[in-house]
């Protein structure tokens, strides 16, 4: 069970980082999983191609909340293209499509256990979907 609920995940669930809307946010998206009720709002401050700030709030399971929180710490200060590449790495990690390169995965590696719980993959990937949507300028993203 500890493979799924690693300390990083529990910590980010208890104390989510960037858990508020940035004052100068210029992109937003909603992530909603109707099956289990995970529901988040997420904001980006895009400065040209660079993600200057990130914030989110909402409610859901530990996996979905920690995923949103960890994602924020990873994409802040990165370019939109880098964030999209991270989305790909994360998706492959949680679906078990590719074993993580620990170096590349970094904090993401904590979510490696999710691939053993197929029904929880959509919890893990919800915020990432929404982030990608926010970059494209989409409004609401569902993982159903």
């Amino acid at each position: 069970m500890r493979d799924l609920y690693q300390e990083i995940i529990l910590d980010h669930n208890r104390n989510p980082r960037n858990y508020k809307k940035p004052g100068d946010a210029n992109r937003e998206a909603e992530g909603y999983n109707p099956l289990c009720g995970d529901h988040y709002k997420l904001w980006l401050t895009l400065d040209g191609e660079s993600i200057r700030d990130f914030g989110f709030d909402g409610s859901g399971c530990a996996i979905s909340k920690a995923s949103a929180s960890v994602m924020g710490t990873l994409i802040k200060g990165k370019s939109a293209d880098e964030a999209r590449a991270m989305y790909e790495t994360f998706r492959k990690l949680v679906t078990g499509e590719q074993k993580p390169d620990i170096e590349e995965a970094g904090k993401m590696a904590a979510f490696g256990g999710v691939s053993d719980f197929p029904v929880r993959v959509k919890c893990a990937i919800l915020a990432w979907h929404a982030m990608k949507g926010a970059l494209e300028g989409a409004d609401t993203v569902s993982t159903e």
Partner: protein, 418 residues
């Protein structure tokens, strides 16, 4: 008096959960290398060998279409199918088998009544009345219908325990109300509604009622005539029978006045280009080849439940529910959602600081199957200001050991999230 008491005691003690467990093959399997503890009976129930074998037997020796052929197999299949209808009739106390319509399940039964009984008499400004504890299946058909007709869907509120507020019901039954549709037992809260009284209140205002009995028939004896229900619907799969089969009971006078629902074979007497004559009830509402094996399987499930005895089941489950309620109350941070005066089967709860979805995953690893989420009753979740709950729901094959296993698994959840 002494002998009456002794008989009562004997009946109660003659029920042995260990013995009935042996009738359900799946209960001796394992999940994640742990013995299965199945506590998701409000979602669907497990099937006894008697049901499984009856279906195999039907396909092995009787399979044929019903109400058609003159050959022997068709006669046999028709006889078994109609015998199943008789069993449903006796099970819920209907006056005659013609008042039993086979459906795909509770949802289809409600949709049939909405389309065929309510739609023709529902006009702009009229009202459909339901309660705040309904399953989506007893909300959405009425929303669709009201929207199409310009009618209003009105909702009787429930109190903090999860009981319908009867004073509100009294004022919300008006001369514009065309149907009052409500659940006998709530799937999300476990509330057993005072059905007889609610029906009497509706009838007092001349309002017909539909009772959603999906969560009631596996747990308590139902007599539609004693209740004076106009329509009563339930599903086979929550009654230890197969999926894809259910029944709609309607009073003959109401069914006979209703137009057909779906068109097709079996529901007609004759078809010509000039005119089609519809069949009599119940066949008028059973277009196409029905779920024959499902109906026969449901009949076998009813026989099985009859042998165990619903009074024994109700008495045993009451005791088990009380044990479970007490056991869960002792878990720190646990909040019970649904504390109605009279309850059946359902233990719905939240754990402080832990989302129900995480609870579900962790207890599953311990072999304990419960439901987590909104239980297809999102308005109920909203009423109690929770996004979701974890729900353990009992059947007569559950034991105190199952409850203890749930308690131990919940303590693991707390350990992980401490």
């Amino acid at each position: 008096m002494t002998s009456a008491l002794a008989t009562a005691r004997m009946t109660a003690s003659s029920f042995d959960p260990k013995r009935v467990r042996a009738d359900f093959p799946i209960l001796s399997t394992t999940v994640h290398n742990q013995p299965l503890v199945y506590l998701d009976n409000a979602a669907t129930t497990q099937k006894p060998s008697a049901v499984i074998e009856r279906i195999v037997d039907y396909y092995t020796t009787e399979n044929s279409n019903v109400h058609r052929g003159v050959h022997l197999l068709s006669e046999t299949a028709t006889a078994s199918f109609e015998e199943a209808r008789m069993k449903v009739k006796s099970f819920i106390g209907a006056a005659e088998a013609a008042e039993i319509i086979f459906t795909r399940g509770t949802t289809e039964g409600i949709n049939l009544v909405a389309s065929s009984f309510v739609a023709p008499r529902l006009h702009e400004g009229d009202e459909v009345l339901i309660t705040a504890m309904e399953h989506h299946s007893n909300i959405v058909p009425w929303q669709l219908l009201c929207e199409a007709k310009g009618a209003h869907l009105r909702v009787v509120p429930i109190d903090d325990r999860g009981d319908v507020i009867l004073e509100e019901l009294e004022t919300m039954l008006t001369d514009r109300t065309r149907i009052f549709a409500f659940s006998h037992v709530s799937n999300a809260l476990g509330t057993v509604n005072p059905v007889e009284r609610m029906i009497a209140m509706a009838h007092g205002r001349g309002v017909p009622v539909l009772v959603d009995g999906a969560q009631a028939v596996p747990h308590i004896p139902v007599d539609v005539r004693a209740l004076d229900a106009d329509f009563y619907v339930f599903s086979g799969h929550k009654l230890f029978g197969p999926t894809g089969i259910g029944a709609l009971y309607g009073k003959r006078s109401l069914l006979e006045a209703m137009p057909p629902w779906q068109g097709g074979g079996d529901m007609i007497l004759s078809v010509t280009w000039a005119k089609t004559t519809f069949n009599q009830i119940p066949y008028r509402f059973e277009a196409g080849t029905p779920n024959i094996a499902g109906a026969i399987g449901l009949g076998a499930a009813i026989d099985y439940v009859g042998k165990v005895g619903l009074r024994n089941i109700a008495a045993y489950e009451d005791e088990l529910l009380a044990y479970g309620t007490e056991k869960l109350a002792a878990i720190p941070g646990l909040r019970m959602i649904g504390t109605a005066v009279k309850k059946a089967s359902v233990l719905s709860f939240t754990l402080e600081g832990v989302h129900p979805h995480d609870i579900g995953t962790i207890v599953d690893q311990e072999g304990v199957a419960i439901r987590t989420g909104h239980h297809c009753a999102q308005p109920v979740m909203e009423r109690f200001c929770v996004p979701a709950t974890a729900r353990a729901s009992l059947a007569f094959y559950n034991t105190r050991e199952d409850i203890d296993a749930l308690g131990a698994a919940l303590n693991k959840v707390i350990e992980v999230f401490r």
